[in-house]
């Protein structure tokens, strides 16, 4: 393999040094090299949101990013949420509100929701639409996803982070 370089990725609070061609997609690095299989390929062109990760707290499509673009960036995948066996409140709400069917899209939706809740103090329909219309659910669980998201948003107003 020609042109392999070393890149330092901060993923889920850990530093990983990977050797890869600079044009390797972040999606492939996360899945194949780091074994983070919650990050999934759906469309490969940044439309469906199944490969969403957080970069510096922002939801991004990892199929559209090259490893050379994320050198020293903070990346979070669903594997990095919660901790010590405890689920993140968004994950908990997705279970309580039956917010998925096949769940292929679920990690992407959860990360978009986490980012939205951290960045946006007021969740009106406009904000919800902007953050969550970049994730597609072919099973059509949208109403339940919205219920889960609104429930966590209300909980946030009542005090938990």
């Amino acid at each position: 393999m020609a042109n392999r370089e070393r890149f330092a990725l901060h993923v889920n609070g850990q530093i990983h040094v990977v050797e890869a061609e600079p044009t390797r997609r972040l999606l492939d690095v996360l899945r194949a090299d780091l074994g983070l299989t919650s990050v999934r390929e759906g469309c490969g062109i940044g439309v469906c949101g199944a490969c969403t990760v957080l970069m510096g707290g922002r939801p991004v499509s990892s199929c559209l990013l090259l490893v050379s673009q994320v050198h020293h960036q903070e990346i979070v995948t669903v594997e990095g949420l919660g901790g010590n066996g405890v689920l993140h409140p968004v994950q908990q709400a997705f279970i309580e509100h039956f917010a998925f069917q096949c769940a292929y899209c679920t990690p992407g939706f959860i990360l978009s929701t986490v980012a939205m809740l951290e960045k946006e103090p007021d969740l009106d329909e406009q904000v919800l639409g902007e953050y969550l219309s970049g994730n597609l659910c072919r099973c059509g669980s949208y109403l339940h996803i919205l219920k889960a998201v609104r429930t966590v948003a209300r909980g946030r107003q009542h005090g938990f982070s």
Partner: protein, 743 residues
């Protein structure tokens, strides 16, 4: 009681942690990457195919072409669940853009990709034909040499005296409706891993039909069934697209050529659009009606564009393709002619709401045209004609569970059908519409299961039902728990794995909960009987006096006498007690008359909506939609509601957005930017789900019932709003605008 409760799906935590292992997450030692070389032409002779330049690329392990099938001991080239017309890879001739002509196994995806580019193929283009109606003309180019006119099957339904029926009518209405090919677009693409060891084949596949895959592969390689093992991980969506046999033959033969190493094929998104589509359908419907709204006769002629290979279409045409295009109405005379037609497009197959979607699009839009011609309320016209319990359908079947009216009435009520509303005057006009549908499930099929009660207190349910997001494993575990009275937490679901679980036909046609559920009930009854028989001597009573409860056996009327099942097993020196359950339905229609049994029970759903049409742009906004289904006995209300909402959202895409555009057979929008599916922003402003329950009723599947009404309900509402009748799906703003402007 485990039934009727909204328990979360069994692996809910793994699902929100992203820890569910789909096919693409499986890793086997030494696994190779497969890549398909596909035809760029819709119809061509292969003049020359040379894989040698690709073999020199480092990392390329094997290349499969049609030549390999000439070797001694080679598998068969052709397969197909009904007629064996489809080659694993094309020999001599390609029949659609995207047809596999070769397949590569390589160490890395990069090497496979490079090899795919290096294989030299020369084609000589042939005349091609794309729409089913043109293809069915005698002078049309032949997709298959042995099938002049391209009609590979013509089935008929004949009920009553059609001529007399039309003679008795005051009005005869005839219209033509069409639906284009569409893509299932599961977010998880198709994927298969195949590996050979000691003459035995193991296949991991994202399939809805593990036993059909097993049977097909065994036949292809001339092996006994047991030599082929099919394992199915959870699916990231199916919707029919992963039904029957897809890429398993190609991957398995490529792995056979490789020798022992596992070979993995995962499709790229663009390949999904040429793997399986919805049928392109052309439907002419003609109905006779009396002035009071009584239907007197109906004649339906349907051309089902099957694409280049027959696949499942012949089977569908013998029942679904006839009975799903008539509508849930009492009509004294009905004739249906259904034609299965080859075209130079990718094969068509099952698609959530298969053939009911196309059928309802025609007959429910048509009902509103009739109502309008009669000056009658569309709800009233349907009320006068809908099948009621005890009525006879056009197949001769008496419909016992008939709740079409109740579904339709509930949906209508939720959108305030009998209330006046503002139709609007300026650029935005409002309208209301409704639709109802009737769908058969498989007429003849079998589901089996095994229950294993273990000494450690666990009840294993061995089942071939595929979990694809519908929550089937959860619902089936609930049925197993309820029927055995064993706590749900102790029920473990095992399968699908053909080496471990007994036979099941397929997970499709909304049959799993109903059919597998019935098999579980039978197995549970046997298990309880066996348990009582074993426990009786220990308690020195008759088996009839014992009941299975919780984690043990107790004496009827004397709860203080109790014995744990572990104890029963231990005292008999058993590690487990097993019971087998089988549920089988019989039926089928006479091929000449369409008379017989089309379905063990009928799926029933309706929808009603209020829409707003922007007459300047043709854009439609759904203000309110209500989807109502007859649900029989509900196992898990939350999962049932999810299915119902999913139908609506899926249907919305089919109604307003989705079509694979083919230009001379070339797909123009084979990506998810140009082929859009509904996002959260496309939802109706209000979406309501109604499940009509009947605790005494049978268990019904719910994965499709309210999908087919979506498109006609919306089209009917658009007609009500702006007086424009759209007859070709999808209902795009452009079509509405053109119709409004008289184009």
């Amino acid at each position: 009681m485990a039934i009727g409760r909204s328990v979360p799906v069994r692996d809910a935590e793994a699902r929100v942690r992203g820890a569910v292992a789909y096919l693409a997450d499986l890793r086997l030692p030494g696994m190779l990457t497969a890549k398909i070389v596909r035809s760029p032409f819709p119809h061509a002779r292969i003049r020359h195919l040379d894989p040698r330049p690709a073999l020199r690329i480092p990392g390329v392990v094997a290349i499969l072409t049609a030549e390999d099938f000439n070797r001694p001991g080679a598998p068969r080239l052709f397969y197909g669940v009904d007629r064996k017309d489809q080659p694993v890879v094309a020999r001599d001739r390609v029949r659609y853009v995207g047809e596999p002509v070769a397949a590569i196994a390589a160490e890395t995806p990069e090497a496979a990709e490079e090899a795919a580019q290096a294989i030299e193929v020369e084609y000589e283009e042939l005349p091609a034909v794309f729409d089913p109606l043109t293809a069915a003309k005698p002078e049309a180019p032949r997709v298959h040499e042995d099938c002049p006119g391209n009609v590979f099957l013509h089935t008929r339904l004949r009920h009553g005296d059609l001529e007399a029926g039309f003679a008795a009518a005051d009005l005869i209405v005839e219209e033509t409706y069409t639906t284009p090919p569409a893509c299932h677009a599961a977010l998880e693409p198709h994927g298969v891993i195949a590996q050979w060891a000691d003459g035995r084949l193991t296949v991991w596949s994202a399939t809805q039909a593990p036993f059909v895959v097993q049977e097909t592969l065994a036949e292809l390689f001339g092996l006994p069934r047991e030599a082929v093992r099919v394992i199915v991980p959870p699916l990231g969506g199916g919707y029919g697209g992963k039904g029957y046999v897809r890429l398993e033959p190609l991957t398995a033969v490529l792995a056979w050529k490789v020798g022992g190493r596992p070979v993995r094929l995962i499709l790229e998104r663009s390949e999904e659009f040429v793997t399986l589509t919805r049928h392109a359908a052309w439907i002419r419907i003609r109905t006779g009606v009396r002035r009071d709204g009584t239907l007197t006769a109906r004649q339906v002629e349907v051309y089902w564009g099957a694409g280049a290979y027959a696949d499942i279409t012949p089977r569908l045409l013998r029942s679904a393709g006839l009975v799903r295009v008539v509508g849930p109405y009492r009509i004294p005379a009905v004739h249906v002619d259904a034609y299965g037609v080859y075209t130079n497009l990718p094969p068509a197959g099952p698609f959530r709401g298969t053939m009911s979607f196309e059928g309802a699009w025609a007959y429910e839009s048509h009902m509103d045209t009739i109502a309008h011609a009669l000056g009658m309320d569309p709800l009233e016209l349907r009320r006068r004609n809908l099948l009621r319990p005890g009525d006879r359908f056009c197949t001769g079947e008496v419909i016992e569970e008939a709740f079409f009216w109740e579904c339709l009435e509930a949906a209508a009520r939720h959108v305030g059908w009998d209330q006046p509303y503002e139709k609007g005057e300026g650029m935005r006009r409002r309208g209301r519409g409704l639709a109802v549908m009737m769908k058969s499930t498989l007429p003849r099929s079998r589901s089996e299961c095994r229950l294993v009660l273990r000494a450690d207190g666990v009840l294993e349910l061995h089942t071939g039902t595929v979990e694809m997001g519908q929550g089937a494993h959860t619902a089936l575990a609930q049925i197993a728990a309820a029927e055995t009275e064993i706590p749900l937490e102790r029920v473990q679901v095992i399968g699908p794995d053909t080496a471990q679980v007994p036979y099941d036909a397929t997970t499709s046609a909304s049959r799993a909960t109903s059919m597998m559920g019935a098999a579980i009930r039978e197995a549970a009854a046997r298990l309880k009987e066996e348990m009582r028989r074993r426990a009786a001597p220990l308690l020195e009573v008759d088996p009839e006096e014992l009941i299975l409860q919780g984690a043990g056996v107790t004496l009827r009327g004397r709860p203080e006498v109790w014995i744990a099942w572990e104890e029963v097993l231990r005292r008999h020196g058993l590690e487990a007690l097993e019971a087998h359950g089988v549920f089988e339905t019989q039926g089928g229609l006479d091929p000449e008359t369409g008379q017989g049994i089309a379905s063990p029970h009928w799926h029933q759903g309706a929808g009603a909506c209020e829409v707003e049409v922007d007459i300047e742009t043709g854009k439609v906004r759904i203000l309110r939609y209500c989807a109502a289904a007859y649900a029989g006995r509900v196992i898990n209300p939350a999962l049932a509601t999810l299915q119902n909402e999913g139908n609506m959202v899926f249907g919305l895409g089919q109604a307003l957005m989705e079509q694979i555009f083919f230009d001379q057979g070339q797909p123009l929008n084979a990506n998810m930017s140009d082929y859009q599916i509904p996002s959260l922003r496309d939802l109706p402003e209000v979406l309501e789900s109604v499940l009509l329950e009947s605790p005494e009723g049978s268990i019904h599947g719910l994965g499709e019932m309210t999908l087919p009404p979506v498109a006609p309900a919306i089209a009917n509402a658009i007609f009500d709003a702006v007086g424009v009748r759209i007859r070709d799906l999808p209902i795009t703003p452009e079509k509405i605008w053109r119709a409004l402007h008289g184009e």
